[in-house]
Structures are given as C-alpha cells and as structure tokens.
Symmetry: C2
Amino acid sequence: MKKSLYDQLFELSKTIKTLTSIEYLLDWDQETLMPSHAIDFRAQQKALMAGHIHKLKTSSKFSHLLNQLIDLESGKVLDPSLSPAQNAALREWRRDHLQAIKLPASFVKTFTSTCSMAGNTWIEAKKTSNFSHFAPSLTKVFQLSRKKADLLGYQDHPYDALLDLFEPGMTVAKLTPLFDRLKTALTTLVKTIKSQPQIDTTCLKGEFNSELQIQFGKKILKAMGFTPEDSRLDLSVHPFCMPLHPLDTRMTTRTHHDDILSNIFSVIHEGGHGLYNKGLPLEQFGSPLGEQSSLGIDESQSRWWETRIGRTKPFWTHFLPLLQKDFPQLKNIQLDPFYLSINKVSPSFIRVEADEVTYSLHVILRFEIEKALLEGSLKIEDIPTVWNQKMQDYLGITPSTDAEGCLQDVHWGFGLVGYFPTYVLGNLYAAQFFHAFEKAHPDWQNRISQGELGFIREWLRTNIHQYGRQYTPEELVQRISGKSPHESDYVNYLNSKYKEVYGF
Amino acid sequence: MKKSLYDQLFELSKTIKTLTSIEYLLDWDQETLMPSHAIDFRAQQKALMAGHIHKLKTSSKFSHLLNQLIDLESGKVLDPSLSPAQNAALREWRRDHLQAIKLPASFVKTFTSTCSMAGNTWIEAKKTSNFSHFAPSLTKVFQLSRKKADLLGYQDHPYDALLDLFEPGMTVAKLTPLFDRLKTALTTLVKTIKSQPQIDTTCLKGEFNSELQIQFGKKILKAMGFTPEDSRLDLSVHPFCMPLHPLDTRMTTRTHHDDILSNIFSVIHEGGHGLYNKGLPLEQFGSPLGEQSSLGIDESQSRWWETRIGRTKPFWTHFLPLLQKDFPQLKNIQLDPFYLSINKVSPSFIRVEADEVTYSLHVILRFEIEKALLEGSLKIEDIPTVWNQKMQDYLGITPSTDAEGCLQDVHWGFGLVGYFPTYVLGNLYAAQFFHAFEKAHPDWQNRISQGELGFIREWLRTNIHQYGRQYTPEELVQRISGKSPHESDYVNYLNSKYKEVYGF
C-alpha cells in the first residue's frame, strides 16, 4: 500500500529530526568529553550536518509534500480527513518551512560565520572586560539580526520576527506592558526585602566532594523519574540538557568544591527540561507533535522543578536528611534555616547566579536593550552606560566592570537576539500552570515531603508534555490556566512566598 | 582561482570522511555511554548516515571527478603533473569507488539487514550454546557473502574478493602456503612448550580496584605519547579504538576485579591502534593518504605495542615499580617471575584470551573454515564437528560446548567474512618491521627500560604512519623489511623468545 502524503511528510520530517539529533550528539560530546584539540574538526562536522539538514528542510520535496496537505500561502489544510492533531502538525510544519525558506542559504552562511567570529571576540573581550573590543563585532551581529528580521517579516516591530523564532506568537506589543508591570512589582519587592533583616547562609559553608555531589544529583534525578537506561548526567562548564530522543536525555551539571547548592539546583533545573523531553510522545518523534512547544514552555518546566518544587520546604523535608547522610558536614543544619538559606534574595550582577526575585529584572533589562538596538533607538557604544543605569534603577547596584555587566552573557556574541524573554516567560507560565496543579493535587506538599515526585511528573505529562506542539504556547497556557500569559500569578507567588521567608 | 580537479575530489572525499567520522562517534557513544533504551533509535541514526555516505561515495559527481584524473577502466593516471603520492591517492580512490559501485544499494540493504538479524540470532545462540539456532541465519550470511564476492569479482577464489576488502592485494594463493607453514611451526612449538614445566602465575592473584586500573592505563597511554587533549580512554564491554580524527582518538578498555593484566594489555593494544591514527598526516585527512594502510597493517601496530613492547622485560623494568606503587598487593613480585607470568603459554578455547603462541592457530582454523564454506566444500551444519576436530589437531583440546567453540566470535553473525586473517597478518608484519627497527635502534631495550617510548613511536611514524595508504600493505612490508609478507620472522621471534621463557 502506498504511504499517505501525511506519512510521507512525517517520514521526511523524521529523517530531518534524526539528523538533528546527531547534531545534538556532536554538541553534547563537545561540551562534555571531546578532547580539546578536536575543536576545529568538530566545527567542520557540525557545519556539514547543518548544511545537509538545511537542504532537506528547504527541499522542493518537502515543500511539495507540504503544499499538497496545507496551502502554504493561506495555511488552509487541504485534506479534510486529518485529525485536529494532524492539522496542528501541518500548521507547525508550515511555520517552520516558511521560516526556513525565507532565509537564503547565503544569508545563513554569513550570519553563522559572523556570529562564530563575534562569539570568539566576545570570549576575549569578556576576559579583559573590554567592551570596545567587542563593539564592532556586536554591531555586525545586530545589523544582521535586523536583516534577519526583515527577511522573516513582521507586522509591528522587527523584534517580533526574532522573538517569534523562540516563542511563537509572542510580540513586543504583548510583552512590553507585561514586562513593565512585572518590573514595577519586582523592584518594589526587592526594595521591601532589602529593608528586612538579611538571611545568614553561613550554615551552608563547607567543602564538598565533587563525585559525591554528582551522585547526589543522580539520586534526585532518579526520584524525578529518570533511569540510567534513558538518560545520563555528566559534567560541563555550563549545565544544559540535550534532548537527543525521549529515550536518550543527556543532562549536565557542574560542581563547586565550596558550594553545595549550585550542582543541586542545576540538576533539578536540567531535570525539568529532561522530563519534558522524556514525556514527549514517542510515536510522534519527528513530527511537531513530538517536539517541545516553545523555549518559554520548555523553561517553564525547568523553572517549575527548580523553584516551585526544588526550593520548597516539603521537598527538603524529604531530601535534607539524604543530603546530610551523604555530606555529614551539614548534619547540624535544621530544615528551617536551610530553607531560608536556599531562598535568600540579594541583588547581584550575574544573571545566572541571580535569585528568584531579582532574576526577571536581569532579563527585562536585556529585552529593553535588545529592542532599542534593533529599532535603532540605542547605539552599540552606549550599551555599557545604559546597562549600568538600568542595573542601578532596577536592582540598586552598579557593575564595576563590563565583564560583570553587559559582557557577561554568551547570547549576543553568538547571534541569539530575542531569546532572553523566554527565560521570564517560563517563570510566568510555570506560575499559571501551578495554580491548576494545586487544584488537582491539593495535598501536593504532603506527598512531596514523603519523597513522592511521580504524581507531579504525571500531571505535567498529561497536561503539557503529551501534546508536543499541538497547541501554541499561548493556547497551552490558556487551556491550562484559563488565562493568557500574564504576570499576576507569578507576582502573587513571589510576594506571598517572600513575605513568609522575610517575615514582613 | 578555480580549484584543481584533484582538490575538488579531495574536498568531496573529505566530506565523506568527515561524515564517516560522525558515524564513528555514534558507534563510540553507543559502546561506551549511551543509555541502553536508545539502541533502536541509534540504529536509525546510523542507517541514515550510512545511506547518505554511500550515496556520496557512489555519486556521479565523485565518479566524474575521479574519471577525469584517473581512467576508471584501466587505472591510468591522466594528469602527468601529479606527484607520486597523489598518483597513489588516485589509485586508492579508484579502488574504493569501484568496490562501492559494484555493490548495488539494494544488495547492501539486504546484506545489512540480514547481518543485523543474524547478529542478534548469534547473541541468543551463544547464550544457550545452541548452534542449530544460529545455523539458518549463518547459511544466509554465507550465501550473501558468496554473492558479495561474485559482485565484487575475483580471479582465482571467491574468498579473494572478501579478503581484499580488508587486506588489499592479499589472496588465498598467497595466504594458504604461508598459513600452512605457520601452522606447522606453531603446533610444533606448542607441543614443545607443553612438555616443559609450566609457569606458575599465582603471584598475579589479587583484587584490583577498577578506577585505579584505568588510571594506570592512562599512565601507559601518556608514556606512549597521548594527551587528554587528543584522546580519551573509556570503558566498554569489548576494548576498541575509534579513530575519529588524528586529533581525536577514542580508546576503550575493560577491567576485571581479579585480573590486573587484561586491562593493561588491552590499553597497550588499543594504544597501538591509536598511535597509528594519531600519526597519520593531518593535512591529508579525507584523502587515502590520511588513512590506515589496511586492517593488517593497523593490527601490526596494536600487536607491536602489545607484544613486542608490552610483553618484554625492559618495558616492565620501568613499569613494574609504577604498577606496584599503585597496587601495593603486588609489591613482593620480582621482575623475572612477573615477566614469565605475562608470557605463559597455554592452549585455551577463546581466541581473544589466547597467548602469543597459540593465537594464530585460532585464526588459521577460522580462515580454513571460512574458505571451505565459501567454496562450498563445507556445509554450515558441519562447522561444529570440523571446528572441534581442528582445535584438537592444532591445540590438543576440544571445546565442551559450541559457546566456547564455533559460536564464540561476533564476526560471522555480523557478516565479517574474510576479516580474521588480518589478525595473523598483523603479527607477521610486526615481526618483519621489528627487524628493521632493531637495526635502527640497537639500544632499544636499554631505552625502554628507562621508560622511554617516544623513539619507538617516532620510528613507526616515520616508516609507516606518515604514508597513509600511499603504499599497499605488501609494498610497505617490502619497503621496510626488504621481503614480501612472510611467516619466518615471526616464527623465529616466537621460537627464540619462548625457548628462553620455557628454558628448552
């Protein structure tokens, strides 16, 4: 029997996804185990794979198959016998394909090589905290990013085109008022907290064996639902999760000899990403129905586990005794001071080290600068001044060097413009999801304190993971929370949690 | 400036090689670290890569470029301006291409899927030591191998076509008399040794920590010339070396808690393969001049290091004190009994565990059976009987089960017919090379006993590694030793070494 058009398209798409997964393995290997002298050759391997994948994605075969199933122009599905889920898959395939063909191969090549050079310049500039060394490269990156936006097309704001790559459907028009309200709420909360007695974290001080830290991380992952048969945990400079396949989730962490928390929260965070990957429907691997809905939704999963589960008292009711068993140097800590210590709020310079309350302010600052650069209302050379002013305004501190200011993040050098907002959106989504979860499991705290985590994973799988990209991020949030993406649940959560933590 | 035809061909060939290296990474990852549930998906990834690579190898673009540089029919090089090395590269490119296009894609697919199934059947059959369960699959493998030989073509014997895939230029006509003489010499030596007092190896007994064993392996690799920047050592069920790139050599080993030797000699053996890979000319990566000459030459390198260096007294003059430092349970062993213990000869059933003297007999037995099966003078169902008879004739022992007899090796199930002889050829080549090496470095024993190994690596690099496939295996052996491949040097070496070891 001849395969249906839909199945032919699915098969071609699965080929692309399978090759993409090989690209992921090349990345994972590079960041974890690869001998360092292989770096140039690895770049060649990756470029070859990327070229081959781009060719398939933009091939006339793909385009032709797709266009028989959905009108590429109008988006009208042409086969009335397909299910709603299949209609959604076609919508997403069309979306990806139109984006891919809008960027000519020559542009992609220029963009990639420019960003590769700019990335290396950024590494040097960061080392010497020399923004002017980075500025010419960064100018090129933003010029090309603007060109990318023009090629992709947009209605209101060029930033929308880039944002949409990472968070489909999100726009400046939706984000700006939302982020403004969030900023007001958070700066107020930061000021309130600042006026309270500060939390003493000396109880966490100590020396912690790296191998034991990793073993403890694996225990947490096991409790979250991973097995060594479907996942790995390795070391890398920056923790990440590489979703090779629902049956092959690769997570990484890092350990610091004098900090027990960094590894733990990295593991829980990456474990959240990992469970999303593991929970995607196996039989849909290769179709959009087998992919994460968006970066924002993906981040909602990592932040959910890291903050909404991992930084709670019930979680540590179960895990603190286990931690103390592995690290006897912590044996005298009580649950309450431990809980306070892992939730200390303190304005600081580095985004990735920021606490829950200040974190979003770091991101909003970047969003505002990116947007202004792209629309031309801010010049590259003025970034340091604006950055430092905003740090002062939002967090009450000013970086003493650009290395701990506008040079700290990897994203811009490597061309990831429009990415940052997804970090905050993940927190907002998680807060909206959590309301629904609490209604479904009013006894969640009790169960977690018994060491039970499976029911959380199942709730997420049933409500989010199993759908892949069937729903857009906004539809998914709406479906679960009954509301559009909004900051109020998140703000309420933070206010109420930190009122208790800081006792005001 | 337009690229020369030669450079265009080189570039295309480099693309193929770079993709092949990605295939190797998929294999390496599968054998070392991959979560086990990912196995089916990994097979899909590998099949995709293999298909893409085969397409490029047999593409009209490749064929057309090549045919402008060398007449595909006659083998005459058409560009007189090319160097002798480039002529040799064209000879090898032609060889590979003609082999690739002789096998239709449909045949390759059938062969691959049949072998994949036969391989799985072999695993089951070996577990239960049930040859009749394996026989129908093995029949298919040999039928298809015969068809493969017919498709590839041969002059005298169908086995020649398969042998040539692994050891270019080698034939049944050359191999049979050589192996017959070797067999006579070795069976005589085995009998002589059997009549002597046996070596007591109880001094090696003990419990050995796995992590410490791996660390000791890394020390040996460091002395051989590897650094963590260009290589790795990991654990796998069967030790192997995966040559991803001269700057990325991946070796594996295994450890046994009650056997200190297994890991050590695996590491030295795989290190020998690894140094060959590391010594290939970087700038030739992607051309035949940047590849190992043959499986036999590759095996000569591993066996060289394992037996000609690793099992000598000078080597352990330096390394035994280091071993004793890491494993104090061995602190009372003296050099002489240690040396005797690591060179004990004892007929046994399993090839991969065989000593230097009996090893080749295991291989010759397989060669004789393969040859007979392929020419039709032996039936599949008679393998166990013939196998056991030959074991009795050559080694004086008879396996009690097929699991320790004809079912022990992975090769046939996975379609590797014609491969075994390269294991013996490696030993013969190494013996011929060693004569030349001894002339160049008469003080080699003295230097090794000081812990110096770099001069050995350099000699091998200068005489063998740097040429890639510029010379055929036979040319290379001839060039270095002044003789065609021959068993006499190897037999002389074994006779003289074991005369001393067993004192007869």
